[in-house]
Symmetry: C2
Subunit: 190 residues, 2 copies
C-alpha cells in the first residue's frame, strides 16, 4: 500500500508551503500552570497575523488494569464545572521523563505501582496549545502509594473493561484522552 496520502483529485489548488514563521514572540500571561503567548507570524501567502498559543509542559495518562477492571478517577474539573471520569493523568515536572511521570502519577492518583507500556502520544488540541499527552497501559498492579498533590481531590473507581468500552463508544465518557485510549485498546483487540 502507498502510505503517503494523495491530494484530493478535482478539489482545490494545492498549497506548496504551509509553514508559518515566527516574527516576534510575546508572553502575554505567565501563570502557575499555564503560559499564554501571542506571536506575530508570517503566513504562507506573505501576510502577517498573530497566533495565540497556550504553552503547556506536557502530560501523561495511564489506563491501569486490575485484572479485567479498569481503574478510573472521578474528579471535579473546574473549567467545565462538572466531575468527570478519566484515566489517571498528570503534568510532567520540569525535565521529567514521560515514563517516570506516568509511574509517579499512577502511584499518586491510584496508590498502585504497575508495569507500564507506552501506547501512543497525542496532541490534545494543536490549534491553540502545544500540549502533548503520552498514553500508557499499566498492568500487574501492586499497592505502593505516593502522597497526592495537595490541591487534587479525586476518587478512584473500578469499572469492568466491557463497561468502559461501552461508555467510550456511546460517549457517556467524554474526556478525549480517556476515550481515545480505551478505543485504541479496543481496536487492537480486534
Amino acid at each position: 500500500m502507498n502510505n503517503k496520502p494523495e491530494p484530493e483529485k478535482g478539489g482545490r489548488a494545492v498549497i506548496d508551503k504551509l509553514e508559518e514563521k515566527c516574527l516576534e514572540k510575546e508572553i502575554v500571561f505567565a501563570g502557575r500552570m499555564l503560559r499564554m503567548d501571542r506571536d506575530r507570524v508570517r503566513l504562507p501567502n506573505g501576510a502577517e497575523t498573530t497566533r495565540e498559543v497556550v504553552r503547556h509542559p506536557g502530560a501523561v495518562g495511564i489506563l491501569p488494569f486490575k485484572g479485567d477492571e479498569l481503574l478510573l478517577v472521578r474528579q471535579y474539573r473546574y473549567p467545565i464545572q462538572q466531575a468527570t471520569l478519566e484515566m489517571p493523568a498528570g503534568k510532567l515536572d520540569p525535565g521529567e521523563e514521560p515514563l517516570v511521570c506516568a509511574e509517579r502519577e499512577l502511584r499518586e492518583e491510584t496508590g498502585y505501582r504497575g508495569t507500564l507500556e507506552h501506547l501512543v502520544s497525542i496532541y490534545t488540541t494543536p490549534g491553540f496549545t502545544d500540549e502533548i499527552i503520552h498514553l500508557y497501559k499499566a498492568t500487574e498492579l501492586v499497592w505502593d502509594p505516593l502522597q497526592a498533590d495537595e490541591d487534587e481531590f479525586l476518587n478512584v473507581v473500578s469499572m469492568p473493561w466491557a463497561q468502559a468500552k461501552e461508555q467510550a463508544l456511546s460517549g457517556k465518557l467524554n474526556d478525549a484522552k480517556t476515550m481515545l485510549a480505551i478505543l485504541l485498546l479496543l481496536g487492537k483487540e480486534q
Copy 2:
C-alpha cells in the same frame, strides 16, 4: 449490568464532595481567539487556590467519506511547529449551532456539502480549558464550496479508510480528535 462504577475496594478513603466553588473571577488575557481566566476557588477541603482556565467558544470536527476514502486536511499547526493531518474542523461562531458550524466548516475546508451525523461530543483537555468538540460523520458529499478563512491555509488529502484506521491505531496520526473519531467508527464497525 450495574452501570454505576463502584469506588475501588481496598483503596483510599472516598471524598464525598468533589466540587470546587468560584470565589472570584479575573480575566487575565482576552485575545482574538482565546481568553485566559484566573479564578480564585474554594477546594473541597475548604482551602483556597487559583485555577487558570482557557475559555474557548467550542468547535466541531467532521469525518467526511467520499465512498471508501476519508478526506483529511493537512495544515501547519503553529503551536506545535509542524504540519498535521486532521479531520476538517473549526470553531463555533457566536451563537452558532454545532450542526450548522459543521456544515459550514466542511464546505469551507473541503469544498463539499454532506449529510451529517453526530457521533459524540468530547472535552479536549478539561484540566485547563472548557473547549468541547462536537464530532460528526459526513457522507453523500456534493461539491458546493464556501470561501475559507483568510488566515487558514490547508490542503485536502484523500486517504483510504483502511489506511486511516491503521494510522490511528499505530499513532502515525497524532491529533487527538481525529484519532478518536476514527477509532470510534472502527469500534462501531466491530
